[in-house]
Symmetry: C2
């Protein structure tokens, strides 16, 4: 076993987009294991948009351990229920090793034909967010027309693929580059997609969905939310799971949406959710998704960066939109 | 019977607050009755905030008949199901007489001890809006803390009184004058109330509800909606039934709320509704309310203006906030 572990900490509060200097990398001795804990070697780390917000006041502690979803293998165990060699998902990310309590980890036993990384992506919080947003919040019906923003991101891409299987009729996505738009329509089988830089979101959405939409899966807020409110039909629903557009600019939140009156006039429902309040949906979701991952109906849509030393660059790249699908760091060959 | 009827029409589209010159009053011969129609003498006319919006493009036709909820008495009938003398509620308002089809009217038989005007106020669309907003949209639970904007208006006052009977714990209202605030706390038994002119709505609400709220009944949008989003607890609900703050300023809608990210972080639900989509709730609502009107548990909260010639002034007064409770015009002594 490794006598030291390498840990990334936040060193400074960013004013605007975070930089590499806002983080520090330290080596620490692995603490002695106590009963009920395990030593885990991390194999994959997840970097996610919500972490940007944790970098501000009230989120991550400066100099403290950062939270982040990870997959690791048990190297040493002080609990008989979790043997050496077991694979676990846990939240002690941003580090090479962790010593979580057994109660803090979730053991996984990857299904044959499903790659390990899926258990940190579409089979984990990312996919569950898409599932909960579609089934519990938006309550998608077969035949609904759906718009998804940040659709080439991890949640958005999962939402588009899952919505298709749930019977959505027309699926429209927005993304931040021509390559991502191409990815949506060619690989993820969206019916239409647009680059939100190419005009007013209201015009772009209206061109892509001239007859309107029934559901909007909101990952960004702001102008695209306004466009969606305009395009929604009566009794339309918005599932809001994040607001990336605001994460870097909390001091000056966007003026949009300016058309909230439409929420009344069209009897719309705009509902936010945090996936952590819906973890009980995990079992039904896995039952639904695993067979579709195995037979290739659902693509595992991920950008994998190799090497622990590239964790911070991977996170910064994610915040600049430099990923397609789930952004992961692979620490070691499986 | 009267050989002529007097009718108010819209003469011009207002730019900003409507003026008396935007209306015209004309006398017309009463048309000949055809089968299936009745001649109705109007007794009460309702003027409502939503009418401001109908004055704009896409609403009322210039020179056409205006729509408005009314109570009338049948003077002449060409349908055996609706005899002379019957009392009816219908939408041919803004006039002394109307000749609706029988299918367009709803016959009422006022319960003993309930004044006729209640059937155009708290027992009609006004009260039903409060009922639907609380029971179907916000899904108020006993023990919930509730904030209502425009609480001295017809819908707001009804919502406060009904919420009390549904078991709301703390009921807070906002209104536009000290007299209205006093009315809310002394007559309608709100637990707290504030005049929204007296500071930032967020500060005023936070002083009135330091521990937060569970439900917001939104009649205004804008800054008060933003304040409510800030004050709502996790899983809080907003029922949005109107946006009076926007009616006079549709060309420059307010930028607020700027805190929609809170909708996600606190898993809030913001849902608009149009009461016309919920008319099936009328029966349960009447069953609930009539006994409470009879025994005086619920006050009939209205401002009554006498004389058909005062209809336009009454409407303009309503838009300036010069009413407490439901605003009605009484055409003739009962």
């Amino acid at each position: 076993m490794s006598p030291v572990m390498t840990v990334i900490r936040q060193a400074a509060r960013p004013a605007g987009p975070p930089r590499e200097e806002d983080f520090e990398v330290v080596s620490l001795p692995v603490p002695d294991l106590v009963d009920g804990h395990v030593l885990v070697e991390n194999l994959y780390l997840s970097v996610d948009p919500y972490m940007r917000q944790l970098m501000d006041w009230g989120g991550w502690e400066l100099g403290g351990g950062l939270e982040g979803q990870s997959i690791g293998r048990v190297l040493e165990s002080r609990d008989p229920s979790l043997p050496v060699g077991a694979l676990v998902v846990h939240r002690h990310g941003w580090r090479t090793h962790a010593v979580p309590a057994v109660a803090e980890v979730r053991r996984i036993e990857p299904a044959a034909g499903v790659p390990l990384s899926a258990y940190l992506g579409i089979l984990d919080i990312t996919g569950l967010t898409a599932w909960v947003g579609l089934t519990r919040i938006a309550r998608l019906h077969p035949g609904d027309d759906l718009f998804i923003s940040a659709a080439a991101g991890a949640v958005g891409g999962a939402a588009g693929q899952i919505a298709r299987l749930l019977g959505a009729r027309r699926i429209i996505g927005s993304a931040g580059s021509a390559a991502k738009v191409e990815h949506l329509t060619s690989r993820l089988r969206f019916d239409a997609a647009f680059d939100y830089h190419e005009g007013r979101p209201a015009d772009l959405l209206s061109a892509a969905a001239p007859d309107g939409i029934d559901v909007y899966f909101d990952n960004v807020g702001g102008e695209q939310l306004e466009a969606a409110i305009g395009a929604l039909r009566e009794h339309g629903r918005i599932a809001a799971c994040g607001a990336v557009a605001q994460y870097n600019t909390l001091s000056t939140p966007p003026a949009a949406p300016r058309n909230l009156l439409d929420v009344v006039e069209k009897s719309l429902r705009f509902e936010g959710f945090i996936v952590n309040r819906h973890l009980d949906a995990r079992e039904e979701f896995e039952r639904f998704l695993v067979p579709r991952l195995r037979d290739g109906t659902v693509l595992i849509d991920e950008t994998v960066v190799d090497g622990f030393e590239n964790t911070v660059p991977a996170f910064l790249q994610l915040l600049r939109g430099g990923n397609i699908g789930k952004m992961l760091v692979r620490l070691t060959a499986e």
